[in-house]
């Protein structure tokens, strides 16, 4: 496998990474997407914007997050694991990096209302948080099933001043929440910014969100080099729902020799079991039936419960620059417990997927002894403790 030069550059003019991406949205939204594309590229080139974002990330969200060595876990596995600690950010996951950037962008575009989809509630809470900080209106769409399962996160969003709309259509989960957010946006596009939660949706979102998340990878690379006398890790591992933490992490290492591994939930493995399709504004890989009806993903981790994957990942998979693995719920539960016991860190169930793969790969020899692994700890497990308790009972 030879890495193409700069495999994680900007998408082409049509918003495509290879054959994936694009902008498949109702005509009503096309101008807004174009406006966003322009606004983002101007803002991204504007030192003042970048400085304001950096300052917000530092003073509000708690960046830089450290990298943490895992001596006891590493000893147990025989491979050297270092974590990038997105779990230490404000609101407890990498999602905050994205929402602060998008809220700042919305402000710049004169939009004072944010909408977002959410599954378990992480991205919803993050968006509501940014909206509170900026004094913006906020509406969060959440499948009715998830509203019931995640009553506390609903309350959290309400405390933050957001209105949570239970979505009663379709499977009443994340996929339908995205649909509903798009429907709201179709109606509100003139005043509203749709704050998409991952590297998905119509162009420029997959690129925009990846750029906002690349702070994870860029920081990690610098920190890792500083710690290791200039060396890069051998393997970079991150979980993949839509793929934003993985994309942000990979972006920092795409031009190194490091192997990039995205880990999906076995029940939501868009790379493993998906086929190309056009859903939620993008051409990418989706779980779907023979006719093209989208299937529901199934995972213990609400954040990975998405039947698609960001288009850039589909592209990286096609290129072979990144590989995508799938792990099952049992392995994930075991990984969750191992990290708690050995390092005193309760991972979110999503990054516990990444760890589950590392554990499996270390045991079956896929990762040679001594391999240097950097794993993005995309969020903290506090949100999942009640669920894990029930599952282990």
């Amino acid at each position: 496998m030879v890495a193409a030069p700069s495999p994680m550059g900007a998408p082409d003019a049509s918003g495509r990474f290879g054959s994936f991406g694009g902008r498949f949205v109702p005509e009503s939204l096309v101008p807004a997407c174009m406006e966003l594309e322009t606004a983002f590229s101007e803002a991204w080139a504007d030192a003042a914007f970048r400085a304001r974002l950096a300052s917000l990330l530092a003073s509000y969200a708690g960046r830089p997050t450290p990298i943490t060595e895992c001596p006891r876990l590493s000893a147990e596995l025989g491979v050297e694991v270092v974590l990038k600690r997105e779990d230490l950010t404000h609101t407890g996951s990498h999602k905050i990096n994205n929402v602060l950037g998008q809220a700042l962008l919305a402000e710049r575009m004169g939009k004072r209302r944010l909408i977002a989809e959410t599954g378990a509630g992480q991205h919803g809470v993050a968006t509501a948080t940014a909206a509170a900080y900026f004094g913006m209106e906020c509406a969060v769409f959440m499948g009715e099933v998830d509203v019931e399962r995640q009553a506390l996160n609903v309350f959290r969003m309400e405390l933050l001043g957001a209105t949570v709309y239970p979505v009663r259509s379709g499977s009443r989960t994340l996929k339908d929440a995205v649909n509903e957010a798009l429907r709201d946006w179709v109606a509100s596009v003139e005043t509203t910014h749709y704050c998409i939660g991952s590297v998905m949706g119509p162009h420029p979102y997959p690129y925009l969100v990846r750029q906002l998340q690349r702070v994870v990878g860029d920081e990690a690379r610098e920190q890792y080099r500083e710690r290791s006398g200039g060396r890069d890790p051998d393997v970079i591992v991150a979980c993949v729902g839509g793929g934003s933490n993985a994309a942000g992490t990979f972006a920092g290492f795409a031009d190194t020799a490091a192997r990039l591994v995205g880990v999906e939930a076995a029940g939501g493995s868009a790379v493993g079991h998906g086929v190309p399709g056009i859903v939620h504004g993008m051409r990418s890989l989706f779980l779907q039936d023979e006719e093209g009806q989208v299937l529901e993903a199934e995972s213990i981790s609400a954040g990975l419960d998405y039947p698609g994957i960001g288009p850039e990942h589909a592209h990286l998979a096609e290129l072979g620059r990144a590989t995508y693995e799938a792990v099952g719920d049992d392995e994930v539960l075991a990984a969750f417990q191992v990290l708690a016991r050995t390092e005193g860190i309760l991972p979110a169930l999503e990054p516990a997927h990444a760890l589950a793969w590392v554990i499996r790969a270390a045991r079956d020899g896929t990762l040679a002894p001594g391999t240097k692994v950097l794993l993005t700890m995309s969020g903290r497990g506090d949100k999942d403790v009640a669920q894990v308790k029930e599952m282990l009972a």
Partner: protein, 271 residues
């Protein structure tokens, strides 16, 4: 910038069955009425299509239900879900259309994934084979439409383009240029569904569309009753009526009720 140059021009256009029918009727001074019905919804949906034709529809829009209909409001979402639950597939809907044997030109309305999954070429051929005149694909905007349009054009399937209140003038012209059948003017910012009040934007977009094109301009989304339809037709060439009809069907109107409702609208537009 991802805006592409218009990939079509008037010289290569062949006027299709739907467009011809609509132009002809418009020329005769008639206001155009295109009802929407969800394909596969209920055992009698093909009879409903026939009833709509009989009631004076100038064209009929048949939805091929999709799992994730982002341009649709609650009524059509519900209809799609029910149809899917009853086993509707693109193939079964096309078979139904073929079996309807109506003269009124039929346009399918669906989302692009169902086409992409089958393949542009194959689906264009299947539509043609089923006797479908046109396709309306609300999540396939101009910039993404080229591959599909090429196959559709080749198969003789007219691709209806949608124009929205947010569409800038320059783009409106390009949409009209690429559009076949008619220009679908989305009457408001929002998804399908009935509205008690006619949106001001409906008249505005109709006016703007009329200024840039000679294609029949039909306003859809939010056209809920006869008086709204008449008001719009002061400016536009016609209307698409979806949720108001589908709601009645969901409530059990059946072919008779559906025909009756469309008959009333027909009358209102003709009077």
């Amino acid at each position: 910038m991802s805006v592409q140059a218009p990939h079509d021009d008037a010289r290569t256009r062949a006027t299709g069955r739907l467009e011809s029918a609509l132009r002809e009727r418009r020329a005769a001074g008639r206001k155009l009425l295109v009802p929407y019905v969800t394909g596969g919804l209920g055992a009698d949906w093909v009879d409903i299509v026939r009833a709509l034709a009989a009631a004076g529809a100038d064209g009929i829009e048949v939805g091929i239900p999709f799992s994730d209909p982002v341009m649709d409001g609650p009524v059509i979402q519900e209809a799609s879900q029910r149809a899917l639950a009853q086993g509707a597939t693109p193939r079964s809907v096309l078979a139904g259309i073929a079996s309807a044997e109506v003269d009124t030109p039929i346009a399918v309305m669906t989302y692009y994934n169902l086409i992409a999954r089958a393949g542009d070429k194959r689906m264009a051929a299947e539509l043609a084979r089923a006797g479908v005149a046109a396709a309306i694909l609300p999540d396939l905007p101009l910039e993404e439409a080229r591959p599909w349009c090429a196959e559709a054009d080749a198969a003789g399937v007219e691709t209806v383009m949608l124009a929205a209140p947010t569409t800038p003038d320059e783009r409106l012209a390009r949409l009209a240029q690429r559009g076949r059948g008619f220009l679908y003017a989305v009457g408001l910012l929002g998804v399908t569904g009935e509205r008690s009040q006619l949106a001001e934007s409906a008249l505005a977009i109709a006016r703007r569309c009329k200024q840039v094109t000679d294609l029949p301009v039909l306003v859809g989304v939010g056209v809920s009753n006869a008086s709204q339809a008449r008001a719009i037709c002061e400016v536009a060439d016609g209307v698409v009526v979806g949720s108001a009809l589908v709601r009645r069907i969901l409530e059990g109107a059946g072919p008779d009720g559906a025909g009756e409702f469309i008959g009333e609208l027909r009358q209102a537009l003709d009077s």
